[in-house]
């Protein structure tokens, strides 16, 4: 499979303004290596502040990396360009959580969807046909073309935002919490729509969410992020090798499953330690302050993301030993 995007040692650091030259640096994304193959859906899961949105923006080309290279179809992305220009040149698009906020409230839906087409200089007549075609693809009625965003429901607005992302026939769409604000039933409709679109058009997704179930459903590969680092990267369809990083396991155990019988028989792993801040990262593994199986070594050396099986990479010294070590502490093990 051809590689669409490759990130090599990408870091995105932000300097905190109010603290002057000595000010803290937020390492939103820190030395991330990642590839996205053609035709693949990459899921990125993590909690707020872990850098998943910044990583998504960097992949699209809306955020310049502080260090490292983004290589798109074998060509290194230049750093001097205006950030938006990169996304346009590569044919990359982004869809945000707040669909209402990404559509101009004073313009009709058709106008907003046609925005990338106008930028391409498409003639007006062709444009209307293309917008109608896009509306059909995302399952919206034609009549919506002349309506305003405020007249649409949340699910319809999100479909319109997806239609606009599709307008320029993108190679890759980064979906940043794109279904998180929708009701369950609407969320299911939009997830199905995204899957259909991926099957019919050759478009890649990067699916960013805090919802591990939605990420599992959508993705071919899942990257788990914690404080700017990818701590685990693995094949989502490989059910034999479930996630093994202590953070991934905790994350999964924290999410209640819609099944009362399962819920009653499991013991949730509840983290206790302090969350390390992104400005003053602890030495060693970033998760060791909260990790239930942390050892002295974890606070000294930072583990690398290493291959543990054909389909997965993990950044933990004790990968695969969670269950034995956790139960050794006397607490019951969370069921999966």
């Amino acid at each position: 499979m051809a590689t669409l995007v490759r990130l090599e040692g990408v870091s995105v650091h932000f300097r905190l303004r109010n603290q002057g030259q000595r000010g803290g640096i937020v390492r939103a994304v820190d030395e991330v290596d990642l590839t996205i193959d053609e035709g693949e859906v990459l899921g990125i899961v993590g909690e707020s502040g872990c850098g998943k949105t910044t990583l998504g923006r960097t992949i699209v080309g809306l955020q310049k990396p502080t260090y490292g290279d983004v290589i798109v179809r074998g060509k290194k992305r230049s750093l001097r360009q205006r950030p938006g220009a990169n996304a346009q040149e590569d044919g990359f698009q982004m869809v945000y959580q707040d669909a209402a906020g990404s559509l101009n409230p004073w313009k009709r839906i058709g106008w907003s969807i046609a925005e990338p087409l106008r930028n391409e200089g498409m003639p007006k007549l062709a444009m209307r046909d293309r917008v109608l075609e896009l509306l059909e693809q995302v399952g919206l009625p034609d009549a919506l073309i002349d309506q305003y965003p405020g007249e649409l429901s949340g699910g319809q607005q999100q479909r319109a935002a997806i239609a606009r992302a599709l307008a320029g026939r993108p190679r890759l769409i980064v979906l940043d919490e794109a279904v998180s604000s929708l009701d369950m039933s609407t969320q299911a409709q939009v997830l199905n729509l995204l899957k259909d679109l991926a099957d019919r058009h050759s478009v890649n997704y990067v699916f960013i969410s805090h919802d591990i179930a939605a990420v599992d459903f959508m993705s071919d590969r899942v990257a788990v992020m914690y404080l700017g680092k990818i701590v685990e990267l693995e094949d989502a369809h490989d059910k034999k090798n479930p996630l093994v990083h202590p953070y991934s396991i905790t994350l999964r155990s924290a999410v209640p499953v819609p099944d009362p019988v399962v819920e009653r028989h499991r013991n949730r792993i509840v983290l206790s330690g302090p969350v390390a801040g992104a400005t003053d990262l602890p030495p060693g593994c970033r998760f060791h302050t909260r990790c239930p199986i942390a050892q002295p070594r974890c606070s000294e050396t930072e583990p690398e993301l290493v291959k543990v099986s054909a389909t997965s990479r993990v950044a933990c010294f004790f990968a695969g030993e969670f269950e034995s070590r956790y139960s050794a502490t006397g607490t019951g093990l969370a069921g999966r």
Binding site: T186, A188, P256, V257, P258, P260
Partner: protein
Amino acid sequence: MAKPQAQQGGPVLAVRDLVTVYPTRLGAITAVDNVSFELRAGEVLGIVGDSGSGKTTLARSLLGLVSAPGRIVSGKILLHDQNLLTLTPEQMRQVRGSEIAMIFQNPIRSFHPGFTIGRQLIEAVTRHQRVSRRAAREKAIETLSWVGMPDPALRMKNHPHQFSGGMLQRVMIAMSLLNDPAVLVADEPTTALDVTIQAQILELVQRLALDRGLGVILVTHNLGMVASLCDRVMVMYAGQVVEESSVDDLFARPSHPYTVGLLDSQPDRVTGSRLEAMAGASPQMFALPTGCRFEPRCGFAESECLQPPQLWKISTGHNVRCWVSKRHGRLPVPADTGTERAK
């Protein structure tokens, strides 16, 4: 104020035929349409539904917090056999926070940003109890430590912005518990929090219900939370309760097509590559179907569904507002799925 002890098994809160209406330009919207239920001490009752189904309005109605021009037009809310709807606003203020308390989705917006949380907690005690400031302070510190706040005495001096979201939600839960309420209404208490923090808050709420015999009403759209936390569930659709049962029954034998659709929409319940998404969207509240409100989206619909259904009992403790379930005792198995590609 002495609290009447909840009689074993008796409901602490009983709601009868509650109707809450919002007048709008397009006509009156009945956001809560004839809702009745009971809540026992130590019980966690889940209220599930899509946005606009009336679940939050129902929760706010219980505390007399429906914002104008919305108002409760009929029904009864009986807390320890006292009808809250007959109270004056001042009497209601006394009940609210002392006997029935609420926690909201966004903790940071529920505190005054300019005062320390200690001051706000102490005020919450002295507002309802005739105690000294010192006693109120001790009560506040004790409650903070009870909800798992490290260094509670020190944290009393902090302002709301100095807390993380999860910690502030704990402060809010502590505040709601200061006056030992009988009922806690939690409206999406963890939606704004990260999942690992969410797990901590869930544990806390569960412990409260068990140890303190607190009746909890949990408003949520998250079926995972319902499964892990609730004893009973009410499913709301377009202002009405469409299904009501124990949590096990609801997940094992969902009997309203909307409930079935909700369960099928869960990404972690599917094995295939597609979700069984419900078609369509919730109806406009000012243009409701005359019959069953779910009928236009329903794959089981028959001719009698054009008549309004009632909340019928189909087995012990399991009520469903569905003609088809009423006739068959359950939904017919070869579901001519009302699911299709979303339109």
